[in-house]
Symmetry: C2
Subunit: 417 residues, 2 copies
């Protein structure tokens, strides 16, 4: 049976590894490689295998839904950018992480490390008057960055996935309001992905005084942030921390230092890009004015890496249900025909009820199946053996808490919904 | 209301153009640009705007479904490939369409123009024994090709989308059977996309004597093929045509010459890649043997271009329903409040019933709305005006046949399902 909700492990392109790969240092890369989610092609460059791609797509879809909810319209811009777009803003020379290459006729291209220089001319085609504002365009696209250091697995890639949203406004007040909306949408994305994030004031780079990052506390993080010890609703990136800072949310003066992973960042761009590209709109009074812009990034592959850094134990990964490759891992133990038949039937029933199920139908010792299941980290594990079948039951184990219980077979589908 | 089935044109990132863009020659690029589906960034490099991305995604999903139906497991491989993979097969030097670039430490990378050199090492990780065969892995990924000529819009891009499936087999017979299955799956894909294709014998390149292409007859095509005049079930690409060829399907000797667009191609690779990468499997008898491979490509963006080349008239595009950005185009004419209210309600009802609807809610003259609707080419057009409302009706026009009829408003939702 072809079934998009379920797959039999005997047919899945997946082989787990007992040992950590020799060329990986980071927890996320080690666990994701061992569990068969990703495969390294080069430093900072990974393939996503079937289980890994399912996780990535789930993260992307959560982001997609929340971007649509704040009016984001999805587009797709190219990865290969003719030099002239980047020369307009002076970033052809200044953006040192950009990969550069030559095509036919010695034409220069850059590989997109970000897309402001591309989206602004696109916006010029679809924004003519105040009636077209505000507008928000986003894409989920591959980004390329010539990173000096690429040893953090999915946390810092040379090629990685990025959702970038760009917003366009008639005035600063409208941008400010949208920026708040986007902040809320970002918190929703990360909460749905099982990540607790701190809104962190950071440098605005060349665009504005400040930007905001969404930081996940983790020893694997490359950033150092200071979290307000009183309200915990605000943090400051070390790069902009002054002497004796004061929390703008609660006035608190105590801050706790932590290593953190930046999973999102948002910027008020103002007219930094609308000016060089002359992105203007006609106002109600007939006058022309420059469009005010904001930009908002989340790296879905980095989010995936961060989730693994936060959610694991010595046995393997512990996926939050929202992004797990499958909801249920069904294990049939032993070679008993009745066990096999019952498990086959349960697999079909679960999949028919739209419950995503990975079914370990292979002939392997119980210990090997358990070890692999722990490593892969699917939230609900159902185990059928001669012992459980004698009680017309399966054993249900929740990966995220070491609890097991016996459940009657005819109750399982209803329970897993 | 946020609604993934519907969008109001007043809020859509879309502006149509009356005139053809000066820098385009091909019908597909002209129409898709004028209708606001794509935007050119450089020669052979396009952005997909909201309407265009919807079409591309629909084509991709049709392909995805048919690949899954023949056991394809979706993965995602990188676009940036370290040189050493391509050196293994000697194609670093021989593949002249590959873009090359340098990263940190002067490391050489190629941008993926195809992925045999990448998928074979991936397959080595997941194929160990005969139990793992056959296996089929596919991806939908951006490809880059340093094309000398890039004037055909979506038909020949420097950056374009590609679905590439790779199959792995224990022996030639198994590959041969799968190749037939893949051929059938390809016909299903193209038929679902509204394209009539001819299976065309072509050169096997360096891999095998022959390969097979799926060709769509069109004056825009860059290929010349000869179609059997008798059975029409077989064609030969000019590049391999001998004197007095004979149709292998029916024995016919008459062939008709036609220009055609290649929308898919399939190859038997044999051990061309498993050999250099030592992709072997353990047989039942314990001996090792090389895996036999096949590869199967479809370019979703090129399919989109081909659909437009085939389906248009002097007013614009005529989308087949299966890939249309929306199924229904709802037009409210005039400024009558009751018309507006009825149209608003109908929009909500259609969207709630999961019918994809583009709603032209703008204040524009009827003629302008009709011209844009013709250009955009959505299959079913519903027009509400004071005149139709007086009869509690809307006018239904099918874009693909110039027919209109009056339909009672309370019948519309049921009828459009």
């Amino acid at each position: 049976m072809k079934n998009s909700n379920g797959v039999k492990q005997s047919q899945l392109a997946n082989k787990t590894l007992r040992e950590a790969p020799k060329d990986e240092e980071s927890v996320n890369a080690i666990l994701l490689t061992r569990a068969g989610f990703i495969d390294k092609l080069g430093a900072g460059i990974y393939s996503f295998l079937p289980l890994g791609l399912r996780v990535l797509r789930k993260i992307e879809n959560i982001i997609r839904q929340e971007m649509a909810a704040i009016g984001g319209q999805e587009i797709l811009m190219p990865a290969m950018h003719p030099k002239e777009y980047w020369e307009k803003t002076g970033r052809w020379e200044s953006l040192d992480v950009m990969f550069k290459l030559k095509g036919m006729g010695d034409k220069d291209y850059g590989l997109g490390s970000t897309h402001e220089e591309i989206v602004t001319p696109v916006a010029k085609k679809v924004i003519l008057s105040y009636k077209d504002l505000p507008m928000a365009l986003f894409q989920i696209q591959t980004k390329f960055r010539n990173e000096a250091r690429a040893k953090s697995g999915l946390l810092r890639g040379r090629e990685f996935s990025m959702k970038d949203l760009y917003s366009f406004h008639a005035d600063q007040k409208d941008l400010d309001q949208y920026y708040e909306q986007a902040t809320e949408a970002y918190f929703k994305v990360f909460t749905r992905c099982g990540l607790k994030t701190y809104l962190t004031a950071a440098s605005g780079g060349s665009f504005s005084k400040y930007s905001h990052e969404f930081q996940v506390v983790s020893p694997a993080g490359e950033d150092t942030i200071f979290i307000c010890s009183n309200c915990e609703n605000f943090a400051i990136n070390k790069e902009i921390k002054v002497e004796n800072p004061k929390c703008p949310q609660c006035g608190g003066m105590g801050f706790e230092e932590a290593k953190a992973i930046e999973v999102g960042n948002i910027f008020k761009l103002g007219t930094r890009f609308s000016e060089p590209f002359e992105l203007k709109f006609k106002k109600e009074d007939g006058q022309e004015d420059l469009v005010i812009m904001g930009c908002y990034g989340i790296g879905p592959s980095r989010v995936m890496g961060a989730i693994v850094e936060i959610n694991n134990d010595d046995k393997g990964i512990i996926w939050p249900e929202s992004v797990a490759p499958y909801k249920v891992h069904l294990l049939a133990l032993g070679d008993d025909k009745k066990v096999k038949k019952t498990a086959d039937e349960l697999y079909e029933k679960l999949a028919e009820a739209n419950i995503e199920v990975l079914y370990d139908d292979r002939s392997l010792p119980a210990g090997a199946k358990f070890a692999e299941a722990d490593l892969i980290g699917i939230p609900y594990r159902l185990v059928i053996s001669e012992k459980t079948l004698a009680k017309d039951s399966v054993e249900l184990k929740k990966r995220y808490k070491e609890e097991t219980e016996l459940i009657k077979i005819d109750k399982i589908v209803e329970m897993m919904k």
